[in-house]
């Protein structure tokens, strides 16, 4: 079984359009297990019940933003080790710096295509 078949990815985005696009791209890459959450709070709840290898989260969300979500995940021993890729509309230095300080694994700037997403994932989990 390849990594693609086993990788569990949680997509966090408040916009259903964005979730749809990300799922579309992940499926194009061949990822089999994709879970969805529309807020950071929901993501935390889901991860408590259903661990994932990797979280792909939007930065700008109502309530908890992507960096706050990352902070939460890193603060909890159960989710500390989860991979985290931040998706941002703007690669703002400040956002990237705070992501770095929490041990963000990678970031992806919008808009992106399937190839961008693939490279971004491969930089974290190895060849897909």
């Amino acid at each position: 079984m390849s990594i693609r078949d086993q990788l569990q990815i949680l997509v966090v985005d408040d916009m259903s359009t964005s979730r749809g696009l990300i799922v579309q791209a992940l499926e194009a890459i061949g990822i089999k297990h994709i879970h969805l959450a529309s807020t950071g709070e929901e993501a935390i709840g889901l991860l408590a019940r259903q661990p994932a290898h990797l979280v792909l989260s939007d930065y700008n969300m109502p309530g908890m933003d992507g960096i706050q979500l990352l902070g939460h995940l890193r603060a909890n021993p159960r989710t500390r080790g989860v991979g985290f890729i931040l998706i941002t509309g703007k690669a703002d230095r400040q956002i990237v710096e705070s992501g770095k300080s929490f041990g963000m694994n990678n970031f992806l700037k919008k808009p992106f295509d399937v190839q961008d997403l693939r490279s971004c994932l491969e930089a974290v989990v190895g060849r897909l």
């Binding site: 935390i44 700008n60 230095r93």
Partner: protein, 719 residues
């Protein structure tokens, strides 16, 4: 049906844009009312940002570049580097309007609207020289992950208590009877609580919340669950509740993240609703916790808004759709509505056959049929509510009309919306947009005075238009009220005389003069202005409302303002009707048009000419018509022999009596359009299929008697 996933996502993007634009308007309204807290500004920013993000994914460049500039400005506001004044907020509104136009033209693949460059320049002018955002490449080295494919035990054995990711507090606050009576205010308490740290507040709304009114103002009906995301000593929290300790129930416990996701529902939850909840852990169906949570400031500001007509879903300033909602193609719903219509007809036919077969009332079949009928009615009502939508989107469009109209005539106007969560059939909402636009334009143009005139009359220079919606007696009532000068009746009368709509010496009551506004051809050339004089007069407005089965009335007080009231049926698909017979035809008269039925007696008939008759109804003489003759089914006959008259009424109060041969029954009928081929048949509104499979015409008595255009009413009084 589309199978291209990208096309589907694109469609859902534009649907999402509408929601984002709506939340953008809401947040701008709050800013306009003086709310400048970060969450309100964030909602504006996020809406624009999300539209930009989605547009980028589809390569919609015009949308991206406009949203980008708007977003940059809002980012400045968000960071506090730009403090918007009233004129800047006005500009934000106009930019939101422009953004909406660009979304629309992009969706419809049309040319972008004019004026984008100008608006971009205006937005840019708000920015400081050095505010140019830096989208420089940021150095970042990806962090590899060593993967372990045994992700541990599945969810079930993760007990909530094992999650040690708790910080902050969960507080449940339930006011007792004495809280409001002793002058305390929950809102203020929640505000001071939010001073301790970021709060996520959820209001627990009971399922059977009565509509708010004066008499229950001090009865506590709501309670709150607050998640305070801050590690403060418990005593600090207790201190906030110091003054209300004895008049409320308070629970304070260390926060568990798992609690945040627990469904926050009042305890009186019906078992059916409970059963309908999705299983915990199903990703797509789980309601996100953040959905009905809103930060203190926006929760607070919403409290001052108008009362909801029903306990709608919790106030939500976030535009994303709750995961428990499903988007459905309107076409599918319409098909369902049609099928239900067929079912209603079928059921009526079945009932009729069973009756004809001479079945005993006690038989099982009759009992079964009865419950079948109850079910059919329930299904029909449920389906109709699917088509219902809050009028909010319509009212927001009107807010834009007010902004544009008031700017073009240089008047200051504030639009107040009341009852925007009132739900109305989607088609009614769509078809209301044009008449309402015209009425709002009229109110700005003709209703409200110029600021100097208002000052002279010791009124505030800013005029107010109130747009309200409510449910009343099974109908929807929409009112447009201005605080302007009122209808200038002498002027209206003069114009009507000039236009030969009335005789020069006609003596008319105020109400009759007001009705002149609705006559075709009343709107005159001298009245034409850039704004409302577009050849669309109140007669067209009235025709549009009438075609929706609605009525329009007006009241006006000189110097104080004018109010137009539109009363509409809740749905266009079914109608309460009276099934009658005339000249061997079975016809349906809408119940809403009938005020009385009576026996026709010879001594009450007054013959005026060969064809004209009046009938005395109590103290009043009303025109009398034979329905069969009026529809051309038979010639004049000895009407005194016939039995029954229906007294019908128009929305303007005009009455007429219609002779019918018999009243069959009173029932709900499914409205079937006559289709384009028939065109407009005077007096006929639509058709329906009765229980015996027979087709029957649904009449429009007003149109039948007065034929829309001509108005014998005023002529008879003249001279």
């Amino acid at each position: 049906m589309t199978t291209d996933p990208m096309a589907e996502i694109r469609t859902s993007f534009f649907a999402e844009c509408d929601e984002l634009l709506e939340s953008l308007q809401d947040a701008l309204n709050l800013m306009d009312e003086g709310e400048h807290d970060s969450e309100t500004i964030n909602v504006v920013f996020r809406a624009v940002h999300s539209i930009k993000g989605g547009a980028g994914a589809f390569g919609l460049d015009a949308l991206v570049s406009f949203a980008h500039q708007y977003e940059t400005v809002m980012d400045e506001v968000r960071s506090g580097r730009l403090v918007p004044d009233a004129s800047a907020i006005k500009l934000f509104f106009r930019a939101a309007d422009m953004l909406q136009d660009i979304v629309r033209t992009t969706r419809d693949e049309q040319h972008p609207p004019p004026g984008i460059e100008d608006m971009l320049a205006l937005l840019k002018a708000l920015l400081h020289e050095d505010a140019q955002e830096l989208d420089e490449p940021v150095a970042f080295t990806p962090l590899g992950l060593s993967l372990e494919f045994d992700l541990g035990a599945p969810a079930i054995d993760v007990a909530p208590a094992e999650i040690d990711d708790d910080f902050g507090w969960t507080i449940t606050f339930t006011p007792n009877a004495g809280l409001y009576a002793s002058g305390n205010e929950a809102l203020l308490i929640l505000r001071s609580l939010s001073n301790l740290g970021h709060c996520v507040i959820r209001c627990l709304v009971p399922e059977d919340l009565p509509p708010p009114d004066e008499s229950n103002a001090e009865t506590p009906l709501l309670s709150w669950r607050i998640i305070l995301e801050e590690d403060v000593p418990e005593s600090d929290i207790r201190q906030v509740f110091d003054f209300v300790n004895d008049v409320c129930q308070l629970q304070i416990s260390p926060r568990k993240v798992i609690d945040d996701l627990a469904p926050t529902r009042p305890e009186r939850i019906s078992p059916t609703a409970e059963a309908a909840l999705p299983p915990v852990g199903s990703t797509s169906a789980k309601k996100p916790a953040g959905d009905d949570a809103c930060p203190i400031s926006s929760a607070a500001s919403k409290v001052s808004l108008v009362p909801h007509p029903r306990p709608a879903r919790p106030v939500d300033t976030n535009a994303h759709e709750p995961a428990t909602m499903v988007r459905v193609d309107m076409e599918k719903i319409d098909r369902l509505v049609n099928l239900i219509g067929e079912l209603v007809i079928n059921q009526a036919m079945l009932a009729q056959s069973v009756e004809t077969a001479g079945m005993s009332q006690q038989s099982d079949i009759m009992a079964g049929l009865e419950s079948f009928m109850t079910l059919t009615r329930d299904i029909k009502e449920s389906v109709m509510t699917i088509r219902a939508q809050p009028v909010k989107s319509l009212f927001q469009r009107m807010a834009r009309i007010v902004r544009e109209a008031s700017a073009s005539v240089e008047k200051e106007v504030r639009l107040k919306s009341v009852g925007e969560y009132t739900e109305v059939d989607k088609t009614v909402i769509e078809r209301l947009a044009d008449p309402l636009t015209q009425m709002i334009r009229n109110a700005v143009d003709h209703g409200l005075e110029r600021p100097d005139v208002r000052r002279a009359a010791s009124k505030p220079p800013e005029g107010q238009i109130t747009l309200s919606a409510s449910h009343r007696a099974g109908r929807v009532l929409i009112e447009i009220e201005d605080d302007g000068a009122g209808i200038d009746r002498p002027k209206v009368r003069d114009i009507a005389i000039q236009k030969r709509l009335i005789a020069p010496d006609a003596s008319l009551t105020d109400a009759e003069i007001d009705q002149l506004l609705f006559l075709p051809g009343f709107s005159t050339a001298t009245e034409v202005s850039a704004l409302s004089g577009r050849g669309v007069g109140m007669d067209v407005v009235k025709a549009a409302i009438t075609s929706l089965g609605g009525r329009i009335t007006t009241t006006s007080v000189p110097g104080q303002g004018t109010k137009f009231s539109i009363s509409l049926p809740l749905t266009l698909a079914v109608l309460d009707g009276m099934v009658v017979q005339a000249a061997g035809q079975t016809l349906v008269v809408p119940l809403s048009a009938i005020i009385e039925t009576a026996k026709l007696e010879e001594q009450n008939i007054h013959r005026l000419s060969a064809s004209g008759m009046m009938m005395r109804f109590r103290q009043e003489l009303v025109p009398l018509f034979d329905l069969g003759q009026k529809l051309g089914f038979r010639d004049m006959r000895d009407i005194a022999a016939a039995g029954i008259v229906l007294l019908t009424v128009q929305e303007d109060g005009r009455r007429a009596a219609l002779i019918v041969d018999a009243i069959m029954e009173q029932r709900q009928v499914v409205i079937k359009g006559l289709g384009q081929t028939c065109g407009h048949i005077p007096g006929v509104a639509a058709a329906t299929i009765l229980g015996d499979g027979q087709i029957a015409l649904i009449l429009d008595p007003g149109d039948l008697v007065w034929g829309g255009a001509s108005s014998p009413h005023f002529d008879t009084k003249a001279g």
